[in-house]
């Protein structure tokens, strides 16, 4: 799985209390998102890996390596985030 390049992630208001990580879609994909989507820290972490391409298992392993979290939780989080990204059409299988 890989993130389509028409989906852009940006960090806004960095180092302020209003810091925000947003995803915007370009061109024909713009209608898939209503304005933008806000990502939390975990989602940003996974997004950056997905940019280069990864399987679900690789994503879970990366989470476990980086964060102190149980495998079941990591698997659930990865599944949830993949579902959202697929729903907005951001993923190339």
């Amino acid at each position: 799985m890989k993130i389509k390049r028409e989906f852009i992630l940006k960090k806004l208001n960095e180092n302020t209390e209003n810091e925000l990580d947003v995803v915007i879609a370009v061109g024909a994909y713009a209608k898939n998102i209503n304005g933008y989507i806000k990502l939390n820290e975990t989602a940003v972490f996974l997004w950056n890996i997905l940019r280069g391409g990864a399987t679900e298992t690789e994503l879970v392993d990366a989470l476990l390596k980086e964060y102190d979290v149980k495998r079941e939780i990591a698997e659930k989080d990865v599944k949830n985030i993949i579902a959202v990204l697929k729903k907005i059409g951001a993923i190339d299988e």
């Binding site: 852009i8 806004l12 208001n13 061109g27």
Partner: protein, 272 residues
């Protein structure tokens, strides 16, 4: 000068449109290949076009002296076809000026950190203010009332599509030929001080606009760039606008007090 009346033939619609653009004089007084330099957003731009409508449209920004242009804009077949399909008005001269805007907006963003916004923009006390709202909500009505209140102290920058450039870390608002049906504004510039979201309300009231809604506002009113690189640059500039500019929400009914409230709370000196 060539104005040929062109008979429509029932084949290849795309080719037909291109021929229509290049040769047909049916809808227009004349078509001539024109090349002039215009000063827009602080750049000297050589623009090539064909229609008299476009000439009149751009006229106030024409540079009559000999200058070396910073860059040039010309339209290809693809540009015309794309604009024709996107345009509500299927008449070639309107399509031409829209296509020029699209090309210009993309070059200005790609190379010169300049974005295009949909807003009514005014200059007061050497600072620029943008009034934004969905079409028909009353942003132009409001700036017209402000103009009535403040007279010559207020100048229009652009009533419809101003450019905003980022120079170093200074944001400057510039006029453009795309300035609404009353053609308000001209080649005027000023540093951007505040952006105001105009909302219809029972009472006239000004509030600060929170960061999330400020972001929504900017995304909604920014010109839509189809290119990934351009959109990425747009977001970078939006990020800077969010940190440097004051954002307000202006609730207003259409009565005569509305501009006073807006003037007292936004344009005048100390901001709350």
């Amino acid at each position: 000068m060539s104005a040929i009346f062109y008979k429509k033939k029932p084949f290849d619609i795309d080719k037909n449109k291109v021929d229509c653009y290049n040769k047909c004089g049916y809808c227009h007084t004349f078509i001539i290949d024109m090349k002039n330099v215009y000063n827009i957003a602080n750049f000297n731009i050589l623009i090539e076009y064909k229609y008299n409508y476009t000439f009149k449209f751009l006229e106030d920004f024409l540079v009559r002296d000999e200058v070396k242009p910073d860059f040039s804009i010309s339209l290809g077949e693809k540009d015309i076809l794309k604009e024709f399909s996107l345009s509500e008005i299927k008449i070639m001269d309107v399509v031409e000026s829209s296509a020029i805007l699209r090309k210009l907006a993309n070059v200005l963003l790609e190379k010169y950190s300049t974005v295009l916004f949909h807003a009514s923009s005014i200059k007061y006390d050497d600072k620029a203010y943008l009034f934004t709202a969905p079409s028909g909500t009353g942003k132009s009505t409001h700036t017209a009332l402000l103009k009535k209140l403040l007279g010559d102290k207020l100048k229009y920058i652009n009533d419809d599509k101003p450019f905003i450039s980022l120079n170093g870390d200074v944001l400057i608002v510039h006029g453009s030929p795309w300035r609404g049906k009353h053609r308000l504004g001209g080649n005027v510039s000023a540093p951007l001080k505040a952006i105001v979201k105009v909302v219809r309300g029972k009472e006239n009231l000004v509030k600060k606009l929170d960061p999330i809604n400020s972001l929504n506002l900017l995304l909604e009113q920014a010109y839509s760039y189809d290119d990934v690189e351009a959109t990425s640059k747009l977001l970078d500039i939006i990020n800077i606008i969010l940190t440097k500019v004051d954002f307000y929400e202006l609730y207003c009914n259409m009565d005569d007090d509305a501009p006073k409230v807006s003037f007292e709370n936004i344009l005048k000196g100390e901001h709350k």
